[in-house]
């Protein structure tokens, strides 16, 4: 491996955060400010290198052989540096840097600050690894690592039972997705002979020769995305993940990790797009997720949970776009969503810190007076989210809706309804949190956050505004163009937007408590309860049955049986030990007779 300045950049991007995590864990745990500084420095370094990589058109980096068995299994650690990964590098390291800086303020007084920044650095390492991977196994490695760091960060305040449980739930749920993912990888490897993406593309005909096989493999790989991107039915971990610190929610559970699933789908688009069935399934799962997420967001009263369900819903849009065969639209929405969702979460974090960790929207109110910058930036983010022109969300969501309009009317209707609901719950949140009168003392006393926190907010707000403008976005990705139906879709979308917001503002203005009671939605369609029941069945019932069999049947039968048999035989033989000398002599004589018989006469 020779290192020239040109080719070592990708390695630098990847390894700087890892070095930061290692140094903090091993050496600087006592010194919290130093740890924070190292972490922020590392991610800024990665960002600068990512910018450099972005501008260099022709760049390649040396590979490293992780496993090589006689050529039958070759796992390289190598990089893919096409437009897609360069874009993701910028998004991940850029948003990551902003959130690191924000964390300096948010986590200022936290006791576990070193631990937090070490985990955050490790996360950056893993996430950058995902977008740089050139083969399935390497991607899976970083995929799992991202899940691990998410677990650590969700459970950062581990003394709280809720946080510990949430981290566990997140890791296990994503692992279930990874189960399907791995089977898909195995199927692709064995059929095409390689795990490297470029090689698989070259040998694609071997897989497409059997359409059923291809569909199953594609859907199994989709399972991984279902887990990581919180699609239905594996979405249940994301709302609980809000137990983690808000910057974590912003970075991992809004902008980057959950987007990894969408990135995966786009990366292996060559596989998915070869199967119409897979595309249809993916599109529908995305649609259902989008609709469900939006519905569930309308009844939540914790501001972070509203945003969490909103994330689920927006991810549904991205997956829907993938299923509608437009990777460009999916990536465009991922791009804009990263900015405005991170912005919304960070703004929510600003509110939470100002109100001393109060998260219930019904205890807020009238915050527009005191938290001016937070209000303004949140407003920008909200407008982007509901798809109001000229903000970024309008362009990306519009692209997806246009696709649906052209290809699948039922999906379009669902998407439009979701847009209406999105406008509804966002306006609901805005109205209850910022407008009207303060509902508690905390709300009355809340003050604006320090510049280290509002700075990133302003930067993200600017990006949320211009991110969708073609003049800006086309430098980074391919902006999807609508073909015919130029005006129908935007008009319908705007109508939905106005309707949704209007109803919400009218309903929620000047209220003290929740006027709508839709129990089914408020209990999130009882999906969590259903899973609890399933787990209870398998864990308690099955496991107890197995434990019972193990203890009583196998143990008793085989082991006790063997020892009991030995004891029984011993008791039987004991009968010969009578202690009587003459009886022994008699038996002795019998033995001699038998011996003579067997030697002489047989």
């Amino acid at each position: 491996m020779t290192f020239t300045t040109n080719s070592s950049l990708p390695w630098l991007i990847l390894l700087l955060p890892l070095a930061s995590a290692a140094i903090i864990t091993l050496f600087t745990r006592r010194s919290k400010t130093l740890s924070a500084a190292i972490s922020v420095g590392a991610v800024l370094g990665s960002f600068l290198c990512s910018c450099a990589v972005f501008t260099k058109i022709d760049i390649s980096a040396p590979e490293f052989t992780w496993i090589d068995i006689r050529g039958t299994l070759q796992v390289p650690i190598g990089f893919i540096l096409d437009d897609l990964s360069r874009l993701m590098l910028l998004v991940v390291s850029g948003v990551g840097s902003l959130i690191h800086i924000y964390s300096l303020g948010y986590m200022r007084d936290d006791a576990g600050k070193s631990r937090y920044f070490a985990a955050l650095s490790l996360f950056m390492f893993a996430m950058l690894g995902i977008v740089l991977s050139n083969n399935f196994v390497m991607l899976f490695i970083f995929w799992e690592l991202v899940g691990f760091t998410s677990y650590v960060l969700i459970g950062h305040w581990f003394e709280r039972d809720a946080a510990a449980e949430a981290g566990k739930k997140a890791f296990i749920t994503t692992r279930i997705g990874d189960f399907g993912f791995m089977i898909g990888i195995l199927m692709i490897w064995i059929a095409s002979g390689s795990i490297v993406f470029d090689d698989i593309v070259a040998h694609l005909s071997k897989i497409t020769s059997n359409p059923t096989y291809l569909t199953i493999a594609a859907l199994l790989i989709f399972c991984g995305a279902v887990g990581k991107s919180a699609q239905f039915p594996l979405h249940v971990w994301l709302p609980d993940a809000m137990e983690g610190p808000t910057p974590v929610s912003a970075l991992i559970h809004a902008a980057t990790m959950v987007a990894a699933g969408v990135y995966l789908l786009v990366r292996v688009g060559f596989l998915i797009q070869a199967s119409q069935t897979a595309l249809l399934v993916i599109a529908w799962i995305g649609t259902i997720t989008a609709l469900l997420g939006a519905l569930m967001a309308t009844q939540q009263s914790d501001i972070k949970r509203i945003l969490a369900y909103s994330t689920i819903s927006q991810l549904g849009y991205m997956v829907m776009a993938v299923g509608l065969t437009s990777n460009e639209a999916a990536m465009f929405h991922l791009f804009t969503h990263a900015f405005f969702k991170a912005l919304l979460f960070l703004a929510a974090g600003s509110i939470i810190v100002s109100l001393h960790h109060e998260q219930d929207i019904w205890k807020m109110g009238g915050l527009s007076r005191n938290l001016k910058i937070t209000f303004a930036t949140f407003f920008v983010g909200a407008l982007a989210l509901i798809g109001c022109p000229p903000f970024s969300g309008f362009f990306s969501k519009d692209a997806i809706l246009a696709l649906a309009y052209q290809q699948n009317m039922s999906i379009f209707v669902a998407g439009l309804t979701t847009a209406l609901l999105t406008a509804f719950y966002v306006s609901r949140a805005m109205t209850v949190v910022f407008l009207g009168k303060p509902r508690s003392d905390l709300a009355r006393a809340g003050a604006e956050s320090p510049p280290v926190m509002t700075g990133p907010l302003i930067i993200l707000a600017a990006l949320a505004l211009i991110g969708g403008w073609p003049v800006f976005a086309q430098n980074f990705l391919i902006v999807p163009h609508e073909k015919e139906t130029v005006l129908t879709v935007p008009i319908l979308a705007l109508t939905a937007l106005i309707a949704g917001s209007g109803i919400a503002i009218w309903l929620y203005r000047n209220r003290d408590h929740e006027p709508l009671h839709a129990d089914l939605i408020r209990h999130r369609f009882y999906i969590d309860e259903f899973y609890q029941w399933l787990i209870r069945i398998s864990q308690e019932f099955l496991a107890r049955v197995a434990a019972f069999i193990d203890r009583w049947i196998i143990d008793l039968g085989a082991v006790r049986g063997a020892s009991g048999g030995t004891f029984g035989l011993g008791s039987l033989l004991r009968l010969f030990q009578v202690g009587n000398l003459q009886a022994y002599a008699f038996l002795f004589g019998l033995g001699i007779v038998a011996l003579i018989y067997f030697t002489i006469f047989r």
Binding site: T65, W66, I67, D68, I69, R70, T72, L73, V75, V137, F140, I141, F142, E144, L145, F148, G155, F158, E159, R160, D161, A163, A164, E165, G167, K168, F171, I172, R175, I176, F179, M182, I183, L186, W189, I190, A191, S209, N210, Y213, S538, Q539, E540, L542, A543, R544, A546, A547, D550, I554, D555, A558, V559, A562, S563
Partner: protein
């Protein structure tokens, strides 16, 4: 060098029994062994085939018995594992109140038995060294254990003796089935038999079944596993570390070294049986592990479960799976040793390992929490640790066996189940970690003290082993694949 490796623990044991300071002598011996093992690892010639560092003394020419030691890639890995875990186990030994000398002597004898068995290239001494380790295990569990220790000690000893007995019959039959002229206990002679015409098919099947059952009992193959959880729960932590981490692997090493290469037809014949049994290990025992309410029992059952993965790699009968199996032996040994060590530390401080009573310990024992966390995530196959690299190889190897595009066959289905086993292991391990170290802490643990600074070194040794192979598995693959290649090339 190899002679030193095997005899140093025995010499140290004798010295301790005679009266030298127990902990100091044992520690010195273990660290010396570790250094020698690492030196062997570095000096090992990766391009040569056959055994290296051979030293041989004739014992009986009639029977063909030699007191012979030698290493190739596979045994080198095992020796490294044994040296690492021995050093860690002795370092982790707490203060012993009664018969301290005998305790350390027993530990050293177990280590000597394991190292001797791995380094032996003579069948006779291979078996003999393993038997050497049985009685010290009995003593360690019976005298210095906790809970129902006497019962556990009896159970493990008698069960394993029965297993050794079945194994002995198998080995004798193996010896008898060799052509009379070239009968020898020497592995190199056995290898030339493999290269030649091999053993008759019919005989292979019987012998292989005996070897599989014999070794299987020693490895806690389902359904012969019930000795393991009880024994590990009752054993003192260093004994559990050595047994689960090293001694149990003797059986797997035997399968890889003897049974598979010499009896390929037999192995092929009994593949389906082995797959069913190993799925029992993974799924059935996995479910039982979830039901456990105590950390020591849970760890005992989890070690039984992970044997299933190693068996899957062995059963897959190709270079990928077998290499993965060998690497997982190394990885699992290290991770389970660290897990048992941490569990022992928790029990020493709180007196209990019940999930209902523990909680939030990471607040008062942050280093223990970190170490246990590393070990737990290594055990469930997090990338970056050796276990993941080896499991990847096992899954790929197993999935490949007998694959056709039209449908899934036995091995593909087995791989799917094994992958589900990964989810199962995540459930129980995370649940254990959360119940022990996270959440609200009951008041009575507020005074608990964290691990001493000295203990950071053995923890670092074990984790360093796991991470270095996890990041650079090719180093291990490079020394194992030549060995595997000679075996499979001769037969396929």
């Amino acid at each position: 060098m190899l002679l030193f490796l095997a005899l140093c623990p025995i010499a140290a044991a004798i010295l301790i029994l005679v009266g030298s300071p127990a902990r100091f002598t044992a520690l010195v011996a273990a660290i010396l062994n570790l250094i020698v093992a690492l030196a062997l690892f570095i000096e090992f010639d990766r391009t040569a085939t056959g055994f290296q560092f051979v030293s041989s003394f004739v014992v009986s020419t009639d029977w063909g018995i030699h007191f012979a030691f030698g290493v190739d890639g596979l045994s080198l890995l095992m020796l490294l594992l044994a040296a690492l875990v021995t050093a860690a186990a002795i370092w982790f030994t707490d203060k012993i109140d009664n018969y301290e000398n005998s305790f350390y002597a027993c530990l050293l004898l177990i280590s000597a038995g394991a190292i001797g068995a791995f380094a032996s290239i003579d069948l006779f001494f291979f078996y003999a060294f393993h038997e050497l380790a049985l009685i010290p295990t009995f003593l360690l569990i019976g005298i210095w254990g906790t809970g129902n220790r006497v019962r556990a000690a009896w159970k493990i000893t008698i069960y394993l003796t029965v297993g050794s007995f079945v194994l002995l019959i198998g080995l004798i039959l193996l010896y008898q089935s060799l052509p009379a002229a070239s009968r020898s206990f020497d592995f190199r002679a056995l290898q030339s038999v493999i290269a030649g015409q091999g053993i008759a098919d019919e005989a292979q099947r019987h012998i292989y079944l005996l070897l599989l059952l014999g070794f299987g009992i020693l490895i806690s193959l389902f359904p012969f596993h019930s000795w393991a959880p009880e024994a590990y729960a009752s054993a003192p932590p260093p004994a559990a570390m050595l047994h689960a981490g090293v001694l149990k692997k003797f059986g797997l090493y035997g399968l890889l070294r003897l049974a598979i290469p010499m009896l390929p037809d037999g192995a092929h014949y009994w593949t389906q049986l082995l797959v069913i049994l190993l799925l029992g290990n993974i799924i059935y025992i996995g479910l039982v592990t979830i039901a456990q309410k105590q950390l020591d029992w849970m760890l005992g059952y989890s070690s039984v479960m992970h044997m299933g993965y190693i068996f899957l790699g062995i059963a897959s009968a190709n270079a990928i799976g077998t290499t993965g199996a060998a690497t997982l032996i190394f990885a699992h040994g290290l991770s389970i040793a660290l897990l048992f060590a941490m569990a022992g530390e928790v029990r020493a401080r709180t007196g209990t390992l019940s999930f209902n009573e523990l909680g939030g310990l990471a607040k008062v024992m942050p280093f223990a929490g970190l170490a246990f966390g590393f070990a737990a995530f290594a055990a469930i196959g997090l990338p970056g640790f050796a276990n993941f690299a080896s499991e990847i190889m096992i899954f790929f190897g197993a999935f490949r066996h007998g694959w056709e595009m039209q449908g899934f066959h036995l091995f593909q289905i087995a791989t799917v189940f094994a992958l589900w086993g990964v989810v199962i292991s995540t459930v129980y391990m995370l649940r254990a970690y959360r119940a022990t170290f996270m959440g609200t802490m009951p008041e009575r643990w507020a005074k608990v003290v964290d691990l001493g600074r000295g203990l950071r070194i053995p923890v670092a040794i074990l984790i360093a082993g796991l991470i270095s192979v996890g990041f650079f598995p090719q180093t291990v693959v490079n020394i194992i694949t030549p060995v595997i290649r000679t075996y499979f090339a001769a037969n396929k």
